[in-house]
């Protein structure tokens, strides 16, 4: 038992921090001490944490640059919202429907990750980044021309416009092109988000430690060496990439079931979002799961906290982002921090112990 604890100390610390944060927030929620803005941000925060952590699997562990993460999120969001929209009132209770929705988002995003990964993972570095970027845009654009309606005769599909669906008078639009899906049941809750974060963390942290994870990291560090010891490079790359995509799909499910009106715009599922997620990962530290969680929280809250600055806030946000990047990762800033820490008695022993 003790051995097990020791082995998984780092994982347990991460999970402990997240659980602690959840309990604190739940207490504050019960006490009614949280502002509406913060309450409204809880579910998106969970979604962004999952996104950042899952992208870290591709960027940090697999060592490939992906700019299509929002595309996978988009797939998860739309497939699950579509499912929930047609089964609302059919599958009861709501939580059961939401569980199915999560599984559907996970499956479809993972499937697309697998399909796109097969040809794409033969590419490396910049090439992979460009192809994934294009993939994300394709997904967004396809959803923007997709029309699906339902009436007594069944489902109707079109990629032209809603008129050509030829719906009956009482027909219902399910996906209405650029107007997306309206009326997704609001199933996402903070608790569901927390549980999904925990599951994501357990999956990823264990994956990293597992035989497969070590193989993936070996590929990252040196492909030729990994191949020479008999690691199936394509298989492990695909595994990590699909898993990362599937978890992004779960984040999409959480996102879509928090909003009544889901549209695929450049803002939420375009390359802007993909780059935003990459920023979370880079700021938190490539390969550091705990760092991803923290930076996702900070960078999601920051623009909301700066609302007081009205129109200047996006400018200030960008400046703060630059400052944080420099403080965290510039060599001189790191050296400065090291000197500062060395002066503090509390950290002296530990920092000497754990020098990276």
């Amino acid at each position: 038992m003790k051995e097990l604890f020791k082995k998984n100390k780092d994982t347990l610390i991460t999970l402990g921090i997240v659980t602690g944060a959840y309990i604190v927030i739940e207490i504050l929620l019960k006490a009614g001490a949280l502002s509406s803005l913060f309450k409204g941000l809880l579910v998106p925060l969970c979604a962004y944490i999952i996104l950042a952590v899952s992208l870290n699997l591709t960027v940090g562990i697999l060592g490939e640059l992906s700019l299509g993460h929002a595309g996978f999120m988009c797939i998860g969001a739309f497939t699950s919202a579509f499912f929930s929209k047609i089964t609302v009132g059919v599958i009861n209770p709501g939580w059961l429907r939401f569980v199915f929705a999560i599984l559907i988002g996970f499956f479809f995003a993972g499937l697309f990750g697998f399909l796109i990964g097969m040809p794409v993972l033969r590419l490396k570095g910049d090439y992979l980044a460009i192809v994934t970027l294009a993939f994300g845009e394709i997904i967004k654009n396809i959803i923007n021309v997709l029309y699906i309606g339902r009436d007594s005769k069944g489902l109707h599909f079109s990629i032209k416009d809603s008129v050509s669906l030829g719906l009956e008078e009482d027909g219902q639009m399910l996906i209405n092109g650029a107007q997306g899906i309206t009326g997704t049941p609001k199933d996402s809750t903070f608790t569901a988000g927390f549980i999904l974060i925990m599951i994501t963390l357990v999956i990823i942290l264990n994956f990293i430690k597992s035989r497969e994870g070590r193989a993936v990291m070996a590929i990252r560090d040196n492909v030729i060496a990994a191949e020479s010891v008999g690691i199936n490079v394509t298989k492990y790359k695909l595994l990590a990439f699909s898993l990362s995509a599937a978890l992004a799909g779960v984040a999409g499910v959480l996102y879509s079931h928090n909003l009544n009106s889901l549209m695929a715009t450049t803002k939420n599922f375009g390359y802007n979002m993909s780059i935003m997620i990459l920023v979370f990962v880079v700021l938190g530290g490539i390969g550091s799961i705990r760092g991803s969680v923290i930076s996702a929280i900070i960078l999601t809250l920051l623009p909301e906290l700066l609302r007081g600055l009205s129109t200047y806030r996006m400018l200030i946000y960008a400046i703060v982002l630059i400052a944080m990047m420099l403080f965290n990762w510039a060599p001189s800033a790191r050296a400065f921090r090291e000197r500062m820490v060395a002066k503090l008695p509390f950290f002296k022993k530990k920092s000497a112990e754990k020098e990276v």
Binding site: L37, A178, T265, G291
Partner: protein, 385 residues
């Protein structure tokens, strides 16, 4: 070493969480109605959001100077949503923390729909100045100032049909824009009942909106006399220019999105000569109300107001009328206020910049006469009929 980075992160987020908490809990009774507005103040659609913000601001200043609503002043706050549904909900929550009782927003359809899901849970009175999709008013607490898209499409088809403007009509619309789609769909449906036929319907998307030669050529090949443009003015100005340089000689007909076409930089105004549009507001209308509003807007912001600003201006006066009719006071709860105003919305009739004697149906859609304008001598002129 990495430990400190993490520690800083934890401390920072703790500080943030505390500072967020500090903002709330100030639901003190003040003797003023708190009205909030939401719109995109940054990014591509900033022109619409800022117009709404400023238009509402002018109306609120006027009302406050004249003694307020039933003697109570109005306090005003506006929040940016960056044209993102999720951010719009954040903006709504931020305004709620501020103590908002009545919402003017959101400016755009998608955001408005997302926010109405939240506002209906709180039962807060919501009046969107310019969210024109039908779903914007799906909840009982939400109302519209502008025409909804289906109505614009139907009105346009009827106007073209009853005035016999053309027998063959082409449509060019933006398939990635809900506004444009919404109008086009109803236009196509209504066209079946009208004495003209749609000979071509060509779409473009927001990613490819610079070259319209293919769409125009198709329209010409199919013998269209009139091109219906349910789109915004920036793309329409390109279509007019490209059509003129190819010498097609179409008539053009548009909706309220075309309002503003005369203000496009480097656009030859003579090309817009004879373009007809159905729009509720024109900045150069000669009535006293419009002129005073345009003058005030220009003094304050140095621009000629567009239809969005006028819608927001009207929104504030509609709220005023509803509150006065309900004899409501600011110390009522948000939900009570909404219930009281909802009842009155079905009864009141408001004269505004965007229409005379506006009334609302049970669903929350506005009922007002559309105005047809024609561009003559480089100005919008009302078509009398």
């Amino acid at each position: 070493m990495r430990k400190l980075g993490k520690l800083t992160g934890v401390v920072l987020s703790a500080v943030m969480a505390v500072s967020m908490l500090a903002g709330c809990g100030s639901q003190a009774k003040s003797g003023a109605f708190k009205i909030g507005a939401i719109g995109p103040f940054t990014g591509d659609a900033a022109i619409y959001g800022l117009a709404v913000k400023n238009g509402a601001d002018i109306a609120i200043k006027e009302i406050n100077e004249a003694g307020g609503i039933n003697g109570f002043k109005i306090e005003y706050n506006s929040q940016d949503d960056e044209l993102d549904n999720e951010k719009s909900v954040n903006a709504y929550n931020a305004l709620k923390d501020w103590g908002m009782q009545i919402l003017v927003g959101s400016t755009t359809s998608g955001c408005s729909i997302a926010v109405s899901a939240e506002s209906s849970a709180d039962n807060m009175f919501q009046l969107t100045p310019s969210g024109s999709a039908k779903d914007c008013i799906a909840t009982p607490n939400a109302f519209q100032v502008c025409f909804n898209d289906p109505n614009q499409g139907i009105a346009s088809a009827q106007y073209i049909g009853s005035n016999k403007l053309a027998s063959k009509v082409a449509v060019i619309y933006n398939s990635s824009d809900p506004y444009s789609n919404g109008i086009y769909e109803k236009f196509a449906k209504e066209a079946a009942n009208q004495p003209f036929e749609i000979v071509s319907a060509e779409a473009f998307t927001s990613d490819s909106k610079s070259d319209f030669s293919v769409q125009l050529q198709k329209a010409k090949e199919n013998g269209a006399e009139l091109v219906f443009l349910p789109i915004y003015y920036s793309e329409a100005s390109l279509i007019l220019t490209q059509s003129a340089s190819a010498g097609y000689g179409f008539k053009f007909f548009g909706c309220d999105g075309l309002d503003g076409i005369l203000g496009v930089d480097n656009f030859d105004k003579s090309l817009a000569e004879g373009v007809m549009l159905l729009t509720p507001f024109a900045a150069d209308a000669t009535d006293e109300k419009t002129q005073s509003f345009v003058k005030k807007y220009q003094e304050a912001y140095g621009e000629i107001p567009n239809q969005f600003a006028a819608d927001a201006y009207d929104a504030i006066y509609i709220i005023k009328a509803a509150i006065e009719a309900a004899n409501a006071t600011p110390d009522m709860s948000v939900s009570d206020l909404c219930e009281a105003m909802k009842v009155q919305m079905g009864k009141i009739s408001v004269d505004g910049l965007t229409g005379l004697s506006m009334t609302w149906d049970e669903e929350g859609a506005v009922n007002k006469a559309p105005k047809a304008m024609e561009i003559k001598n480089g100005e919008y002129a009302l078509i009398q009929n």
